[in-house]
């Protein structure tokens, strides 16, 4: 029986998103920047979508902008904050397990003369908030809300707290402690950060969590949050960029009047409307889904070691510390590519962070940073329409597939 178990890559359009998309194709085709009737109507749809997304995420509407993808949103968040805080510092701290979009933005920052430092993670892929104390000259800290490969939820609120505390102690130490940093002090005084001191802003990539678990940007304490509509049942081509009021940020790309100068170009209004409708519908589904999918993934984690020899479960063993819809594991002596092929022949769609499944032949930076076995890796991720039957289909095939691959490789009994 076929089963699509790669909802963390992308998930089908939510019915509410689909209905909104079809309606908005008819109603929302005009230019929302124009003042005639059709334009005003488009503007109303865009404003309503912004209000909806802001409401779900605990932000203000004027803090939310839409761009062309989650990756673009992450690029804008990282590079826009680094650009705006150039005088405060040139150091960008990123966790070792960030999505490639954040790491690529950090690399670009470095190529432009800035500095990047990586925050280590533990065996489960979790950042230690105590390690997030920013050295002087830090422009930005970027820590994802949850990891895309192993599902570990990061202590974002604690990281935000650490940044607050660090700013407080720096402020308390005063100019003497800062040691002749007259320039810094003047930057601090001119800062428009929400706090009175020069707190280092925090970006969180919430592409794995928005529309999957409750996300409140205020509760997280993040200054910037980014997400991607197609991950939660919206259409592809919509990124969400939240920049909290008072956060220093400037568009690192050429800007126009669209999206308050945060994302240039004619907005994909029907897709934005659909994304907002999908997110709103998802918000009402999350509580029940967390329980249902959480039970399925817990069952999968419990059964795997009994069904497959030498399988290593990845991510936080504590259900509270991981996404309810994702299970990642690695099978010793198994090539990930071969395993994905065997599963695909049985109609089972999953993804892998193993090197042989990547174009570069390098293993997943997430698995390497965690010290996890990088070969034989499988990520199973559930969506709103996933059922126990999907996992049964997987478990019907997986043990035999692993055994066959090990036998072909002469790796039985090792």
């Amino acid at each position: 029986m076929p089963a699509y178990l790669d909802h963390a890559s992308t998930t089908p359009l939510h019915p509410a998103g689909r209905a909104a998309l079809l309606a908005a194709l008819d109603d929302g085709w005009a230019d929302p920047a124009r003042l005639y009737r059709e334009g005003r109507r488009a503007r109303m749809l865009l404003d309503a979508a912004r209000e909806t997304v802001a409401g779900v995420l605990g932000a203000r509407a004027d803090e939310v902008s839409f761009c062309s993808s989650g990756a673009t949103a992450a690029h804008l968040a990282v590079l826009g904050t680094a650009a705006a805080r150039r005088r405060a510092g040139d150091l960008v701290l990123v966790s070792a397990v960030e999505h490639s979009s954040v790491l690529h933005a950090a690399e670009r920052h470095e190529r432009a003369g800035g500095r990047t430092r990586t925050l280590d993670v533990d065996r489960h892929g979790r950042v230690d908030p105590a390690s997030c104390v920013p050295p002087p000259g830090t422009a930005l800290v970027s820590v994802q809300h949850a990891n895309h490969e192993v599902g570990t939820i990061q202590p974002v609120a604690e990281v935000a707290e650490a940044l607050h505390t660090a700013a407080g102690s720096r402020d308390a130490s005063g100019p003497a402690g800062a040691g002749g940093s007259a320039d810094r002090s003047s930057v601090d005084r001119s800062s428009v950060d929400r706090s009175s001191v020069d707190r280092v802003p925090l970006h969180t990539d919430a592409a794995m969590t928005v529309g999957r678990i409750p996300v409140d940007v205020t509760a997280l304490g993040a200054d910037l949050l980014t997400a991607s509509a197609h991950k939660f049942g919206g259409p592809a081509g919509v990124g969400i960029l939240v920049v909290r009021a008072g956060t220093r940020w400037t568009n690192p790309m050429p800007a126009d009047e669209r999206e308050a100068g945060r994302a240039a170009g004619f907005p994909n209004l029907p897709a934005i409307v659909a994304a907002a409708a999908a997110l709103h519908a998802r918000a009402g589904e999350l509580a029940a889904e967390r329980e249902r999918l959480g039970a399925l993934t817990a069952q999968l984690r419990a059964r795997l070691p009994a069904l497959v020899d030498d399988v290593e479960l990845l991510g936080d063993p504590d259900p509270a510390g991981r996404l309810p819809n994702l299970v990642a594991f690695s099978c010793l002596y198994v090539a990930g590519e071969a395993l994905l092929g065997e599963l695909d022949r049985a109609g089972i769609a999953v993804s892998s962070g193993s090197s042989c499944t990547s174009d570069s032949l390098t293993p997943s930076h997430v698995l390497v940073a965690m010290g996890a076995l990088s070969h034989g890796n499988v990520r199973v991720s559930l969506g709103r329409d996933s059922t126990a039957a999907d996992l049964t289909a997987l478990l019907d095939v997986l043990p035999g597939a692993v055994a066959a691959i090990r036998e072909r490789a002469g790796a039985v009994g090792l």
């Binding site: 002596y333 090197s355 076995l373 990088s374």
Partner: protein
């Protein structure tokens, strides 16, 4: 893994496994096949140039309770020195 100088007595490993040119997980399978030839407390050196080997050698040692003593760079790839602990 650090490149800390291994004990000079360990410089000549009991077994050398040449997995250069082999893609993961083959170097790890080669290592697992040959570890039985190594006396307990003896060492095996795995030569590998697959980019995933560094992560996977360390993970294999952890999973199998063997000890990764150190890593050194080769003209291409790395040599991983592992002590058989049991």
């Amino acid at each position: 893994m650090s490149d800390a100088d291994p004990d000079p007595a360990l410089d000549a490993p009991d077994v050398v496994v040449d997995a250069l040119g082999r893609l993961c997980p083959l170097p790890i399978i080669d290592l697992a096949r040959r570890i039985g030839e190594v006396p307990v407390d003896g060492t095996v050196e795995l030569l590998a140039d697959d980019p995933a080997a560094a992560a996977d050698v360390a993970a294999w040692c952890r999973l199998r309770g063997q000890q990764l003593l150190g890593t050194r760079d080769l003209p291409t790839g790395q040599a991983y020195l592992i002590r058989r602990t049991h």
